[in-house]
Structure formats: structure tokens, C-alpha cells
Symmetry: C2
């Protein structure tokens, strides 16, 4: 069974986000008012083979811990969608 995973990686709230701060001040300079709390993270899409949804969940969790995210400074969450395989 093929699954499509959409993984959202965000910096932990306690970690400073200089890129977010830069974007926030950039938006201010472009004339946008009332913008706050800009945080920049990563968005990863991938397809994986798994036996069922629980198996896919476990695999994505392991991938995130091992390679895709830095668990010291980042949080992640993800959505899984079964991919229809055309016969």
C-alpha cells in the first residue's frame, strides 16, 4: 500500500527564529501592518510503501527522528493519505 505523507516541521516555541524575524520586519517595510508571530519551518512531502496506516505512521515517525528533523530544536506533525493505485 502506498501512502503520501505531508510533514510539517516547526521550530520549538522557545527557539529563536531569526529568519522569521527578518521576514516580519520585511513585511513591515513593505507596508503590511498588524503582522506578528512569523515563524518559518519546513514542509516535506514524500510517498512511502507501508502495510497499513499504523505501519506508515511508525515509519514516518522514525524517519523524522533520524533524518528529517532535529528533535532538539524542532517539532513535527504529519498527515498521511492513502494513494489510490491505478490497476
Amino acid at each position: 500500500m502506498q501512502y503520501h505523507a505531508q510533514i510539517y516541521v516547526t521550530l520549538r516555541p522557545s527557539v529563536l527564529d531569526p529568519a522569521g524575524t527578518a521576514v516580519e520586519s520585511g513585511l513591515g517595510q513593505l507596508g503590511y501592518a498588524g503582522i506578528s508571530g512569523v515563524r518559518i519551518g519546513k514542509y516535506i512531502e514524500l510517498n512511502l510503501e507501508a502495510n497499513d496506516e499504523a505501519d506508515a505512521k511508525g515509519k514516518v515517525d522514525k524517519m523524522c527522528d533520524q533524518l528529517l528533523t532535529n528533535p532538539v530544536i524542532e517539532n513535527y506533525r504529519f498527515d498521511l493519505t492513502p494513494v489510490a493505485v491505478t490497476a
Copy 2:
């Protein structure tokens, strides 16, 4: 009215994603089989002031075109959630 925007920025499908390819081969070397189509994008969160949802939508669209994304090589989509203001 305060809105929370979650913006997903992805490379257009026709644009090569070397970082995604590197992650895909990295996952392969870690022993994960059946992984394909790894694409890496950006995930941006921000809060903004707007009169209503249509106004917020227009503002986020303009910000994305002007600063947050590169429309030549990237697509984006976003979700808006009204933020409850505590009295």
C-alpha cells in the same frame, strides 16, 4: 479581527529539487525502502490583522506574491483560522 495563517510553499513540479533528492538517497542509505517523490518546501506561520476572512485572504495572497514566495519556481497554498481574542 486577528487571523492565523499557515502557508505551505512548494516547488513547482517541473522544478528540480536537489535537497529532496539528497534526502531521498539519505533515507535509502538508512535502510528505508519504497520511498519516492521527496520534495522539500517551506511552511510559514503568521498572525495578521484583517477586517474579515476575504480581506485576510487578499493580504496573505499579496504577501506571498511580494515577499514570501518566488512565483517563478514556487506554488503556495494557505489556511486561515480566526484567532479568538480573549476579552
